[in-house]
């Protein structure tokens, strides 16, 4: 009955070749983050009107993506890891979208 072993199949698929990430990658990621931080501070001192929050969030999200992809090694991780990250992002999306569905429609009274 135990012809094929799905657990093992999955375990193998889960380990693509691991190159030890080079210091160059780490340092360039770090520099990018620093530059983006300066950008955040600069953007914080400007007034873009309605775009203030989107711009701040945009830069912050970009920084988060860099951390996830390079510091957390997700770029070279297994599909399962990527799926996990995607799933949590998706759930965060549900939280945001449905909550905003309330806030953005508070004025619609149906009259």
């Amino acid at each position: 009955m135990s012809a094929h072993n799905s657990a093992n199949v999955e375990a193998h698929a889960g380990h693509p070749h691991h190159e030890p990430a080079s210091l160059v990658v780490y340092f360039s990621t770090f520099s990018a983050l620093m530059i983006l931080t300066i950008l955040t501070i600069w953007a914080g001192m400007q007034d873009f009107g309605a775009l203030n929050t989107p711009i701040a969030l945009g830069i912050a999200s970009f920084k988060a993506v860099l951390v996830v992809l390079f510091f957390m090694h997700v770029l070279h991780s297994s599909t399962l890891t990527k799926l996990t990250i995607f799933a949590s992002m998706y759930f965060l999306g549900i939280l945001m979208v449905f909550t905003l569905a309330d806030y953005l429609s508070r004025g619609w009274t149906g009259q």
């Binding site: 009955m1 135990s2 012809a3 094929h4 072993n5 799905s6 657990a7 093992n8 999955e10 375990a11 399962l80 799933a87 949590s88 759930f91 549900i94 939280l95 449905f98 909550t99 569905a101 309330d102 806030y103 429609s105 508070r106 004025g107 619609w108 009274t109 149906g110």
Partner: protein, 559 residues
């Protein structure tokens, strides 16, 4: 004793080895006996038992507060407790029962014990994290105990702002910290189970060969991992606002109190599925074993667990219909809430179809199952009353809601837990308990439960709000009924507290597979299991609930 000896390999020699067991086999209970070997154990089975002790104590504590509440409500006047003490009692009741008892109940006790065995492996993926989760749970419990000793919290288990963030006394942050900490214990358990199921299944154990209890635990774990961090962050935000004055929930600081409800229920509605899904998994095992029939619609039950986990995340605002939610959002959430009843309904119909033409036995775990299925169905159906937008405006925050969720959480989840404990007790302890007492206990719980909570549907419909210690005189009859029912219920719960521990020491030795079940913990493990569960890779069959092999070997059937 209705034990059916179906042990495949031992059948021939069973008679000779039955009474006089010369050398007691080593098992996980007796291979090490020091206190440290228990408190520092990495064995998933022992950790399950540690949790069993922990949650049982918490159940008694939470029950004591429930007793206070029901005693106060015997009379319309607030004569036993002041309003303040009453508020603190129902808060303590809710917090203890939900966070310290019900959320860890089935996953941390039965899940820990059974999940690795059911998928044919020696332990969970991260045994140390597993032990850590127990101590994190205990630490969270210490915070909650501290909050109680400091004078208690009066916000209700929901910790709504602005009461919790601005007006309530400082204990609320101690209690919230406790909930925060316990959340991590729950995350650790969930994480462990997900990794174990993905990585450690025995050779041949494909996803659709796993018992349905494992599927239910998988779905539960997903919710624990995805949802619990949100409540942790929400609690942290309340702390930021209270201590640092960051404006998040307080309108004067530019915040919005309803945001708290969004964040809280984003976790806490899925959390109600953390409480009920494991019980649905137990039910699938019980109905199959005691009908001696494969579960009807195995695949669809497995998938409905996952569907519940997913749908459960998009219905949360049904708790907020009267909070000032926009009308559009209320409509969307009302419709979505109806959809979550579908997978639950699928399960109920599948269990009924499993019993149909099955060889149904009335052993005590099955009696608990019967109680479970009836009460869960009433709970689910009344949930639909509440998801109906117009009806909910009338019923929100009344005893109707209280009755609804107790039908599911006590009638469904705890009934399932009791059924599971009775079903696996012979495996866990190697002893049989007194079957008659168990049936009496199940009956007492069922009757007591209905007397306690059915009147509350009427009370709520007549407009009695929840969380008040006084009420108009014309509502007294129903309230007295409810309190009397609660006493019967308490006796029903205390009885197993006596005969189960008794059987642990003096009960008849349990055979390997007393119920004639087909899952690995019964067919491949001794009762109680050896420290490493299996000494070989267990055989895995195409269909997990296949009674045809067992039936042929049903040699001894005694009553």
């Amino acid at each position: 004793m209705s034990a059916i000896n179906l042990d495949r390999r031992v059948v021939g020699e069973a008679a000779s080895t039955h009474e006089a067991t010369p050398k007691p086999a080593t098992n996980y209970l007796n291979h090490e006996t020091t206190i440290a070997s228990w408190l520092l154990t990495l064995d998933h089975k022992r950790i399950g038992l540690l949790y069993l002790v922990g949650i049982s104590l918490m159940f008694v504590l939470g029950g004591a507060f429930a007793g206070l509440i029901r005693l106060e409500l015997m009379t319309p006047k607030g004569d036993l407790l002041t309003g303040d003490v009453y508020n603190k009692s129902f808060t303590a009741h809710g917090v203890v029962m939900i966070f310290l008892f019900l959320i860890p109940s089935i996953p941390a006790v039965l899940g820990n014990f059974l999940l690795p065995i059911m998928i044919g492996t020696k332990d969970v993926a991260f045994p140390r994290l597993n032990l850590l989760s127990f101590y994190v749970y205990a630490a969270g419990g210490v915070f909650l105990a501290l909050a109680l000793l400091l004078g208690g919290v009066d916000t209700g288990w929901t910790f709504y702002t602005p009461l919790s963030s601005t007006y309530a006394n400082g204990n609320v942050m101690v209690a919230a910290l406790g909930v925060f900490v316990i959340g991590f214990s729950s995350i650790l358990t969930g994480l462990n189970f997900v990794v174990t199921i993905h990585r450690m299944r025995a050779p041949g154990m494909t996803w659709f060969r796993m018992p349905l209890f494992v599927w239910a635990m998988y779905a539960t774990s997903l919710i624990q991992i995805l949802g619990t961090p949100v409540v942790a962050i929400t609690i942290a935000l309340v702390g930021f606002e209270r201590f640092l004055g960051v404006g998040i929930f307080d309108p004067r600081l530019g915040g919005d109190p309803i945001l708290f409800q969004h964040l809280f229920w984003f976790y806490s509605h899925p959390a109600v599925y953390i409480m009920i899904l494991p019980s649905l998994g137990v039910a699938s095992e019980l109905v199959s074993t005691f009908s001696r029939k494969g579960v009807f619609g195995y695949h669809i039950i497995a998938c409905s667990s996952i569907a519940i986990a997913i749908f459960g995340f998009v219905v949360w605002a049904h708790h907020m219909f009267t909070s000032g939610l926009s009308q559009y959002a209320a409509m969307v959430f009302s419709v979505l809430t109806f959809s979550v009843a579908i997978p639950s309904g699928i399960k109920v119909f599948s269990w009924l179809a499993t019993m149909y033409k099955g060889s149904v036995s009335l052993a005590s775990p099955m009696i608990f199952f019967f109680g479970f299925i009836g009460l869960f169905t009433i709970g689910g159906m009344t949930g639909l009353f509440l998801s109906t937008l117009g009806t909910d405006i009338h019923l929100h925050d009344t005893y109707f809601v209280v009755a609804h969720f107790h039908y599911i959480m006590v009638g469904g989840a705890i009934m399932g837990f009791m059924g599971g404990i009775h079903y696996w007790w012979p495996k866990i302890t190697g002893r049989m308990y007194n079957e008659t007492l168990a049936k009496i206990s199940a009956a007492l719980i069922f009757v007591g439960f209905n007397f306690t909570f059915f009147p509350q549907f009427f009370l709520g419909y007549m407009g009695m709000p929840r969380r008040y210690h006084e009420y108009p005189e014309e509502l007294q009859v129903l309230n007295v009924l409810s309190t009397v029912g609660a006493s019967v219920l308490a006796i029903g719960y205390l009885t197993p507290g006596i005969y189960l521990p008794f059987s642990f020491f003096f009960g008849k030795k349990a055979p390997k597979n007393p119920w004639g079940a087909t899952t690995l913990e019964w067919t491949e493990c001794e009762s109680p299991p050896s420290p490493h569960n299996f000494d070989h890779n267990p055989p895995v069959y195409d269909h997990v609930y296949d009674y045809s092999t067992l039936n042929k070997e049903a040699a001894v059937v005694s009553h």
